[in-house]
């Protein structure tokens, strides 16, 4: 398991139709829509990975495995963008 956290520089706001993320010091911003915005919502509500998978499985009508792969891909993308970062040494696995 890898423990991820929200990157300290990230601030966000929920607007109509999108969630805006800003990293001011890097001059970057991201507009999340659809499933990505939902994932962000659930993370900020402190849902666990398994709970998010469960929620999206019902929402999207996909299998648990498909949802898990999709969620992992999103998190990897966010890691590359510096939106989330791994908490080294704090994983449980």
């Amino acid at each position: 398991m890898t423990l991820y956290r929200c990157a300290p520089a990230i601030v966000w706001v929920k607007d109509v139709g999108q969630t805006l993320l800003v990293a001011q010091e890097r001059g970057q911003w991201w507009a999340l829509r659809g499933v990505e915005a939902t994932i962000w919502d659930l993370l900020t509500l402190h849902y666990s990975f398994e709970q998010i998978v469960g929620f999206l499985t019902e929402l999207l009508g996909l299998s648990g495995e498909e949802v898990m792969q999709r969620l992992l891909a999103v998190i990897r993308r966010w890691e590359q963008a510096g939106i989330v970062c791994p908490l080294e040494g704090e994983g449980s696995g």
């Binding site: 890898t2 956290r5 607007d15 109509v16 993370l43 849902y47 998190i75």
Partner: protein, 321 residues
Amino acid sequence: MANLVISAICNQNCAYCFTTDHRQPGHDFLPLGAFGERLDFLDRSGIQEARLLGGEPTLHPQFPDLVERARAAGKRVVIFTNGLMPETALTCLEALPVEQCTVMVNVNQPNGDRAAHERRLAVMRRLGERALPGFTIYRPDFQPEFLLPLVAETGCKPVIRLGMAQPCLSGGNRHLLPNQYRAVAVKIVRFAQAAAGTGVVLDFDCGFVRCIFSDADLEVLQAAGAKVGWHCNPILDVDLAGNVLHCFPLAQLGSLPLAPESDAAALRHTFEKWTRPYRRAGVFKECSSCPFKASGECPGGCLATTIRRFRHTPFRVEVPA
């Protein structure tokens, strides 16, 4: 445009004061030498106005000298004051040609301090058309009607500069909330009509939002001669320590040093770069999909209000390998 802070001291205590986040202990007044550097900055930047603010700028013990230096440098002088100025400052300002001086007098709704109100009126009478009253709306139940007889009585410029109190990033000052804007807009439209009936026009300060006025409202405002506008830009406030701010409400965002080679365009460019990501949003959650914003007609209101909508959530999530 750039504002030069020359005094940290003020003889009023306005609840909405936007310098709340940027009090500078140990700096009371700008030394004359440093004022020369500020004028050089204006020259380098091609700025023809010396806009002096505080605190209360007229409390600077060498205020007449500062004004004289600004005039000697060929600058038109603009003063942001609460109107409760010492006689020396008033004498100096009333001696300036009307076209070379604007004294923006911030007038609060009378609160029972009759002596202060009378003093302000007396100052405005003596300044005549050099004085331009400003009124900051910081609560939705504001009552601006008292301003119209004040304009007539003092002979000041028949223009009222209207501002909506915006928050400092800390939120430590009184300010309007976006959900109060529409109610404020309705009152402004009514006031603009009343003002037009007495030959007075309204002039909008920064931070107004296009969508709080209906098209019908805008027609009324235009018929009343109101100078409406929706803008939010780096004003450039130069503080007593020689740091440049985007504007006072955004003081916590950071500052840039006023270096010997600094000019306003470069400073403004840096602030625009810093704030660009936040400009995707606005004061309302609808702003990011608003056609007025998309077309550039409206920036989405005050950036300090917008930034205060953002938050950081320190979530953690355990992800399978």
